[in-house]
Symmetry: C2
Subunit: 107 residues, 2 copies
């Protein structure tokens, strides 16, 4: 399982994978259930799930005949933290710019 954050974003960049991901927000589902309602074949869904699993966004678990997929909370937490850092840094940059601007106005 890759832990690189960028390839997780890349994985979710595909609309179908994003749809699968959002489908799993409701709760764990077997492959066939995920494919039902999506405009692609079960084969395509299976390939997408392989990628999502590989990048650490979902996990799977056998139940007899079925493979149950669910969202990997840790993987999602990584993404959240990643964007949180960007948010904080850009906010700080904005604050600096604002202060500088007000300094220039007051002279």
């Amino acid at each position: 399982m890759k832990t690189n954050l960028k390839i997780r974003v890349q994985a979710l960049g595909d609309p179908t994978r994003m749809a699968i991901f959002e489908r799993l927000e409701q709760g764990p589902l077997p492959v066939g259930e995920i494919a039902r309602g999506l405009p692609v074949t079960r084969s395509a869904v299976s390939q997408h799930l392989k990628i999502l699993k590989h990048v650490g966004l979902v996990t799977s678990q056998r139940a007899a005949n079925r493979q149950i997929y669910r969202i990997d909370a840790d993987g999602v937490a990584g993404l959240r933290d990643y964007f949180d850092r960007f948010w904080q840094e850009s906010l700080q940059a904005f604050k600096h710019a604002a202060e500088k601007s007000s300094r220039e106005k007051s002279r």
Copy 2:
């Protein structure tokens, strides 16, 4: 400016756009400066910036001859909140599953 969160993820799904985005984490930059150090032409960078701006991840501002691009903190906050929701929901689902499992073990 589109406010749809999915297309922001889609926008960052491209490696070059992600590189541009991370480049802007250091601080605001003009187009030419961004292109310098990237393995693509300035034209490509300009097209990518157009997309990033369109989905609300960066903003731009003229300074005479130059276009200064910077990260849009609000846009990034949207992404963070989006993944935070997934994280919370999947964590809760995991907790439910764990409780159910321990109940079944204890009987």
